[in-house]
Every structure is written in structure tokens, then in C-alpha cells.
Amino acid sequence: MKKGVLILVFGLVAAAAAYGCIYFACTASARSLQRTDKPELAWLKEEFNLSDASFKRVSDLHAAYLPPCRDMCREIDAHNVKLQALLSGATNMTPEITGALAESARLRSGCQTMMLRHFFQVSQAMPPEQGRRYLSWVKEKVFLPDYGMPNEK
């Protein structure tokens, strides 16, 4: 009986150890991605198999894109505050609301143009096949037909 129990326990311990070893070994790369300075860029490098030179170009483009992107965020936020103020007391369409909505559309269009330009530049900094895959992926993420709505497939 004692020998049988020992074998039983040994089997269970071995299974638990195998589970732990395989889990930690296989998730090591994901953990190292998360620990990096810019995990999203580290992910991009791994996901699209970028060489160090390609990654450097992509990182430079990324860094150059962020300041105008932040400016755009501030502009959108300020405009949203203005639009909400106009809508809060409104019971009818007014020329101000029409103008504010037109401005929203203009901002969105400008933002999308800026993003798309950046995506093209990034895709061109990648090897051609990876660039195509990147563009296809990012366009699906950002330019969905039902923009801002849950994706139902």
C-alpha cells in the first residue's frame, strides 16, 4: 500500500512540475515583452519579425508620430467639451451645432489621414511581406466599417 501511495503521489507531483515548467518556459517570451520599456513596440518587433534595422526605423517613426498625435488628442478633447456644452442645453438644431459637427468630422478626417500616413510609412519600413500584413492588420483595427462600434461577424 505504501509503495502504491508513493507512486501515486510521485505521479501527481511530476504532472504538476511538468505543467509548471512548460507553462513558464512557453510564456517566457510574453513576459519578457511585458517587461520592456515600450511593450507595444517590442510586440510589433516580434509579431512582424523585424530586424534590428527595421525596428530602429519603425521606432523612429513611432517617436516622431507621437507629438502631433498628442496635439490631435488635445484638440479633439477641447472640441468634444465644446460640442457637449452646445448639446447639453439644445432642443433644436442650431447653426453652432451644425458647425461643431462639421468641425468634429474635419478633426476625425484629419486624424485618420495622419494615422494612415503613419501606417503607410511604418509598413514601408518593414520587409514587403510583413509590411502588407501590418497594413492589413492595422487597417482592420482602426478603419473598421462600423468605426467605434463592436465588431459583429
Binding site: G4, I7, F10, A18, C26, A42, Y65, D77, C111, V142
Partner: protein, 116 residues
Amino acid sequence: MKTNEAGNHDEALRKVLKEWRTEVPLPPRFQEAVWRRIKLAEPVPAPTAPSVWTFIAHWIGTVLPRPALATAYVAFLLAVGVTAGWAQARQENARVKGELGERYVRVLDPYQTPRR
């Protein structure tokens, strides 16, 4: 009082039994017959089905220690552990990579950037 009475009765009975004599010889194999009858009169425990635990204990004690079976058992559990670890890691990697992809998009898209 009752105890004393019972004691008196026992004493009387013992006395009578001491004085009692019988000339009739005991039948052959009398003792053996008595014991047989006692044995027959004893209630025989009804056979019960072995419980699951009894079965498992028996299996662990006698069947599992066989080398071939023990090896197969450990190998099976190892395979289960490896498969479960691999499947769980795959799921976790997919989750982390999905999150990082979403994060990349949120960093670039002002309309998906979380606002303070």
C-alpha cells in the same frame, strides 16, 4: 433489595443444580452437535459490495506498484501536465499579444486613446 432477592434465587438454583444427578448418558458427539447448532444460529453477515474506496485502496496497494503500470501511470500524468501547461501557455501568450496589439493601436489612434 431486588439484588439480594436475585442473589438468593441464584444460590438456590446453584444448590439444586449441584444436587441434580442424571443417569442418562449424553448422545454421541454431543458437544460437537451443540457447537454446530450454535454456529448455525449465529447470524451470517450479509455479503456487501466493496465500496469505491476499498476498490481504490486495493488498486493502489496491489495493482499500481507493478512496474509496467507504475511507469505508464507516471508517463500518462507527465503527458497530461505537459499538455495542460502548453495549452495554458498558448492561451496566455495569445492574451498578452492581443493586449499588446490593442495597446499599440490605442497609442496611435486618438479616438481609441483612453482619456484622463
